[in-house]
Each structure stands twice: as C-alpha cells, then as structure tokens.
Point group: C2
Chain length 318, copies 2
C-alpha cells in the first residue's frame, strides 16, 4: 500500500527496534538513506541497526562514521532505496515478507512491502529522507547532513545529470551548511580510482569497436575478454558509459556474454538517441539514456541486431 | 577604486555602447559572465559586443547562442573575470588603460580598472553577475540562465569543489528552472574528451614517477617529453591534477621546463597537504590545494628540492 510522508512519519514515530535494509552492492544513496535513518531513529530514542546484504565497501565507510553496531531482534523492518526484494541478496529469505515500510524513489518498485513511501520525482532516495525528517521534526546534524549529501551527490552524478531538480539544489544548499567535508566526499566518490581500474578503463577505451563514424562504441565482454584481463564481472560495474567520454559518441553498447548463453545488452545514450526505444524493440526497456535487454544469440548475431537499430536511430538524427 | 553592487549597477544603467572583455584562453566562467552581461545590456536597450582576446573554442560556442556581432566604437569598457590586464592578451594594448568597470572574483585582482566590483567569496564570477542583475532588476531569461549556470558549473567543478557555497546551490536551483539543458552542458564541459586528450592522459598516468609509497606523483614535462608526444603547451592545460585520480595520492607535482631555463612547478593537493606552504618555501605561493613556484635549476636539482619538502609534509601526516 502506498502511503504519504505524514503516514510514513507516523509509522516511524510509533516503531522501535528497527532493522534498516539497504540494497545489495550498496551505493552512496542506499547507504546514505540507511545511516541517516539510523541517526534519526537514535535521535528519537529508538534502537536501530543497518543491515547491508553483502557489506559496504571501504570506499563508503565514511558514511557510517559514528554508527554503533548492536544485535537485537527486529520489531520493525524498513527498507531504503530497495525497489525489489531480489535486491536484498543474502538477507532476502530472512526479510522478504516482513518489510513494514519501504522508502524508495524507483518508479519500478514492485510494492513488496506492507507500506511504501514512493516518490519517483526525487533524484535520490536521500531527498525523500530529507522531506520525511522534516515531517518528523528531526534536527539535521553533521552525521545526517553527511549521509544525505552523499546520497544526493551519488544519484545525481554530483548535480550533473538531468534528474537534478531545483529541490535537489535547495536541499544541498542547506546540507553543506553543516560541518561536512563535501569536497573530500566528492573527490572520494567521483575522482579517485584504483590503479587496476585505471588500467581496465584504458584497455576498454583503446580496444572497443567503433561504428557509424565514431558515433557508436561497442564493447564486447566475452568470456575470452574476461580471462584475458583477469577481471570478475563486479569489477566491470559502471563501464557501460565509458565510450560516451569520447567526443562525438552518441551511443555506447556493452554486450556481456552470459554463462548460460546469449548476451546481456546495456545501452547508454549521450542524450539525443532514445536507447529505451531501441531496447524495447529487442524485448527490454529502461530509461531514455540508459536501457538494456537480453539477446539469446551468438556474438555476431547479437551485434548485428543491436547495430541495425542503432544505425537507424543515428540516421534519423541527421 | 573598489565599488559595491549598487554603484556597479548605477554605472551599467548610465552606460552605452559597451565593449565587454573576457580573459584570454577563455573558460566557461569568463564567457558566461561576458555573454550574460551582453544579454542583460540588450534587455536594457543598450548596444554591446563581447571581445574575446583569442576567440572562444568550439567547445563553448553554445554559451553565446543568440549573440549578434556588431561593430562600433566603445563608449564604455567592462572586463569580466579578468584579474590582470596581462590576461587581455592580444587586446591588452588597445584596452588596458580604458577599462571603466571590472567585475571579478579573484582576490589577486591588481585593480587596474577605473572601478572594480570584487567579491572574493563568490565561487564563480557568474555568481557576482547574478547578484548584480538582481540589483539592476534584469529579468532572468533562458539565455542569461544558460550563461550563468555554465559559469558557475565551470568554476565549481559542477558543485564538487570546496569553493561551492549554499549561495551557489541556491542560485543553481533558480537557474535550472529555466529552459536550459544543463545535463547536456555538464556532459560537454566535464565528460567529453577528444581521442587525443584521452591518449595524452593515458600516457601521463602510465609514465609518471611515483614517490613516497604512491602518495606523490611527479610529471616531468621536459622538452623531450613534449617532442616525444608532439603536444604544444596549451594541450597540457589541466594535467596538473591528473595524478590525484589515483587512490592514495596526496600530492601531484608537474615540472614544466621553460625555454629560458629552469622549471615552472605546479603542485596540487588532495586536501591533506598544504601545497601553498611548500611553494612559499620555494619562492612561490597559491591556494592550499593548488599552488606553484619557479625553480631556476636543472631537472634533478628541481626535483630534489620539491621532493624534499613534499616528503617532509607527507611525513607529518602520519
């Protein structure tokens, strides 16, 4: 059942002993939402624990500074930024049917929780948390400001993407008034890479295929590509948009070979081509600038089908 | 003479036939300020022309969309984001002694204009333009919003750097309410690189020296480096911070060999080391995270002097 901010605030006021769930492969927005909620619940005198399906990476450790781990039975379960119970990963079985409240900004939320506070217009889930805390009369402090800022910066590419709204900037204006080193946070989140990641990205940019006069870059992540580079799939997170760094590129295509056969296709657009429309024709979907589909075929046939539609879309631009 | 917003507004109200000067090697902030002032002056029914010392690059062409070139004798000259007449490049001789008003946010401004509106707290000069337009009662439109947003995004690294203030975000909140494709602007400004630039950055990252356990990267731009890569000095703009992309790096040092002998030293810090203090000891200066100096010595001796101080500063962190 979908509820509004006031109703969600009522649930939080009357709950206790809360397990807060983030999604697996946690990013700054789910962690920022989770820890901000923890600090808010502590302010209300309640006991809370953040449950992160497969643990947060060292990169995000700063978000939870000041958090004290405590073990207790949950009386209330709240999921943040989790659109689907499948994203609960290792804790899915334990929590799937007992999420009391889900706070989310994905319009694709499958409404698995007893109550859901959903705002698809929020660029980041942390924007929803901010409004909810206003409703609750929570006093923003340095910890909460750090968490919420990190989540908002994460999901907007530091205010760079089109999902950024006037509200996003207004909330950021307030949050940076607290004692948070947002420049350091942004550096950690957006600028720093490991030596291995730098090498991987270089390899990708230097070896991808280009089509239609350098307007479409295609990256084929086949089994032989993986073993040649010695990388696991999780290390390939975020590579789909890499080709769009190059001047003139309109479409980036990543074809990932699946162990069960066929290819997972990820498409990214620089803004002029609607890749969701292309993926829909191939049985998938997504957003205008980021979409995907699955094609059960060999590499050549997969590429042929994708490039046919990509070439047509590029032709229509002229 | 330094003046305030009200006095600057009076000058603009009573002026006409304005030549607006940007600095050489123009960036988004000087161009955004210049064209925004042009659109504001047109709104006030005045004639204006933007004079860009060595022309703007294609990259920034979108800023001046809607601008009409007109040739006329200047009755008033206004410089925007120009801290020193030396930055007027090819038009210095013509305008140096006749700048009526300078609008700037560099505390290093040498006060060469008859009147100067200076606000060193503004992250971008376009923030000053925004306040000045408020004072003048200028109605923000899509053209002005595009110019001001571009300038603010340029000088704050899209709200990423520590110079960003609550005001910066508040102004951005208003500006993105107009019909501007800020996501496209940010993509053009921050994400896109030429193939040549990508290759250059790869070469630099793969070939720089590292010291003190990968915490200090040193890039030596000697004459042989330049000829080996076949790059001119202007293509090396913005490389000084590259080493800081790598996890764990605290200091980036660039040593540029000068044709007249000696090395121009640029230092960048990830935030923990004060490189201005190091450069001051070497006869230079700058900001805490970005500073420089000149050392009249050969490469080995230059490197020795810089690394001695860098190593000492890194040692003090532990």
């Amino acid at each position: 059942m979908q509820i509004d901010y006031k109703q969600a605030a009522e649930i939080i006021k009357s709950c206790d002993d809360v397990h807060i769930l983030t999604h697996q492969s946690p990013d700054g927005d789910t962690l920022g939402s989770g820890y901000a909620l923890y600090f808010a619940l502590r302010q209300l005198g309640k006991r809370a624990a953040v449950i992160c399906p497969d643990g947060a990476t060292q990169r995000y450790a700063f978000i939870g500074e000041g958090y004290t781990e405590e073990s207790f039975e949950a009386k209330t379960v709240i999921a943040v930024d989790v659109a689907d119970p499948a994203l609960l990963g290792s804790v899915r079985e334990c929590y799937e049917n007992r999420v009391d409240l889900c706070i989310d900004h994905h319009v694709s939320n499958v409404m698995y929780a007893k109550k859901t506070l959903l705002n698809g217009n929020a660029a980041a889930n942390c924007e929803i948390m901010y409004r909810l805390f206003e409703e609750l009369g929570i006093k923003t402090d340095n910890d909460i400001a750090r968490c919420l800022y990190t989540g908002i910066a994460t999901d907007t590419g530091c205010f760079k993407y089109g999902n950024t709204t006037a509200d996003t900037h207004r909330i950021a204006a307030e949050l940076i008034g607290y004692d948070i080193d947002f420049a350091r946070i942004n550096r950690e989140m957006f600028d720093i890479k490991s030596r291995e990641r730098i090498r991987l990205e270089q390899h990708i940019l230097n070896n991808m295929e280009v089509h239609f006069g350098e307007r479409c870059g295609v990256l084929c992540v086949t089994d032989s590509f993986r073993s040649e580079l010695g990388v696991a799939d999780e290390e390939l997170d975020g590579i789909a948009g890499l080709p769009l760094q190059i001047q003139g590129m309109e479409i980036a295509v990543t074809l990932k070979e699946k162990s069960t056969g066929g290819f997972k296709v990820s498409m990214r657009s620089a803004g002029r081509v609607n890749v969701s429309a292309i993926c829909q024709q191939l049985g998938g979907g997504g957003h205008i600038n980021a979409a995907g589909c699955f094609i059960k075929a060999d590499l050549d046939e997969t590429k042929r089908r994708v490039l046919e539609l990509a070439g047509k879309a590029l032709g229509e631009l002229n």
